[in-house]
Symmetry: C2
Subunit: 71 residues, 2 copies
Amino acid sequence: MAEIKYEVVEHIGVLSESAKGWKKELNLISWNGNAPKYDIREWAPNREKMGKGVTLSEEEFETLKGFLNQL
Amino acid sequence: MAEIKYEVVEHIGVLSESAKGWKKELNLISWNGNAPKYDIREWAPNREKMGKGVTLSEEEFETLKGFLNQL
């Protein structure tokens, strides 16, 4: 299997934690050495496994922010 | 395969659109008849297919909003 390299550039915050200790987090992550993107994703304890999530570019992130503040 | 039933209760907005016409959207979606949750996900044109994404409860959504406004 291909390897995905990533680096958590900035841990912004935890949105929630499940009974099994998985955390839904907002981070700034660099994937395969590329420019960091905002990332909303579930992580196992100690970030040993990653779950499903979405990455957002700076532009998508700003658009999301605009929608959130209208709600 | 098991079937997933969902209903887009409210279309809040489009975060971006890819060259192939997939859109990253913020929606309020009811999954399997449950209470609607906020959902950030990619969709094929006319929502014919869904891509990866995250669902956020009201509480997670409010927490996210708080983080975004601090950035």
